[in-house]
Subunit: 199 residues, 2 copies
DNA sequence: GTTGCGATGTATCGGACCGATACATCGGCC
DNA sequence: GGCCGATGTATCGGTCCGATACATCGCAAC
């Protein structure tokens, strides 16, 4: 989960922990709240020992975009992380290997979706459909509760079920739309002016 | 979290673990997916050593409703848990002491909301307003992203933000409505005794 | 100039919760 | 009689969170 998210962000640009967390929070803010440092730093360490990322600025070849954002200024005390070539492979591998755990959790789906621009069409479709199935199941469960046991629940529990059901129906409709687009190839492609940096 | 949920359910009726999990899943299904046994059983053990619940059928006084649901049949191998008097106090205490952690997480809010029928009006209002504030903050964050950095995001990330924003706006509206009802006293009370606004 | 203060930044620890797994029993159905 | 899916209890490793502790930087007030 976090591994995929971190690799994905570092794929775009090298970064230090603090900035990483901020980007994580805004980019994935729709589906999960915020990433804790208590998971971020240990994960960074693990990724480093696994060889997916390396400490320090990129190997002098890459001209590290001089953006307005203060990303990789290796100032005092800051530790800048850069994704390695193996890390990029690992990223693609994780992107494609999208099992049930991908759509089972909100966070899992959110992270994968956030990197759909780098995911191949077949995998995109598979994830969207898996997610839809999952949400439909939840929806059916709530419908059953509401139709079969409504009179045995208090008003608040009832209201909670209704709200949840509504949210599920909405998400299913959203997913249907995305799936339809995906099949048509209508989906706005990522700015294809950027054809694969390396690998 | 789990502690509150378990005490709340056992407050309604004694139960064994399996049934507890099923009820947990349906009652709180709107906001959190499912409870794992890996958290349920250890928590049950802890609640027991803390004295909030006890193993075995109720102390012979309570006539354990002979419902159609097979709840407390102390058959072979089953362990039935019953809430103690101290447990009921603890439950009320947890219900009322609703700090920020209550509305920070989906699950926390969901659990508290599910037991609103047993929560006093002032606490209900406090929780609803805290939650609203929290969701509004998330909403503002996403609005900023969409208005300030939309052109720098790919189509999928954009769509994710839009979907998240929509969900937030919807939840805020839902909360507004609940808060308004709460202030009017329009909210249906638990079935106990409410001759004023019965339907 | 120095003092204080909020934003930036790195790091760890205990605990909550999950996912997989193992295993035992029960009620039918063939 | 045997098989199988529901029911039922339990544990283990791992992921992630929340609180906390510091250290530094820019800057404004005095």
């Amino acid at each position: 989960m976090l591994e995929l998210a971190i690799l994905g962000l570092l794929h775009e640009s090298p970064m230090h922990g603090y900035e990483l967390r901020k980007q994580l929070t805004t980019k994935l803010g729709a589906f999960r709240a915020a990433i804790s440092y208590g998971s971020l730093y240990p994960t960074l360490r693990r990724l480093q020992t696994d060889g997916w990322i390396s400490e320090g600025a990129p190997p002098a070849g890459m001209p590290a975009s001089p953006d307005e954002v203060p990303l990789l200024t290796g100032k005092r005390g800051r530790v800048v992380y850069t994704i390695t070539a193996e890390g990029k492979e690992r990223f693609q591998e994780l992107l494609t290997a999208a099992g049930p755990e991908t759509y089972d959790s909100e966070a899992g789906f959110g992270v994968h979706f956030a990197f759909f621009a780098r995911t191949d069409p077949a995998t995109r479709l598979r994830i969207l459909e898996g997610r839809r199935r999952r949400v439909e199941e939840r929806r059916e469960g709530m419908r059953d509760v509401l139709s079969r046991a409504a009179e045995r629940l208090d008003a608040y529990t009832l209201e909670l079920q209704r709200h949840g059901l509504d949210a599920c129906e909405r998400e299913v409709r959203w997913l249907e739309e995305l799936i339809a687009n995906e099949r048509n190839g209508t989906t706005p492609q990522p700015p294809s002016a950027d054809p694969e940096r390396s690998s």
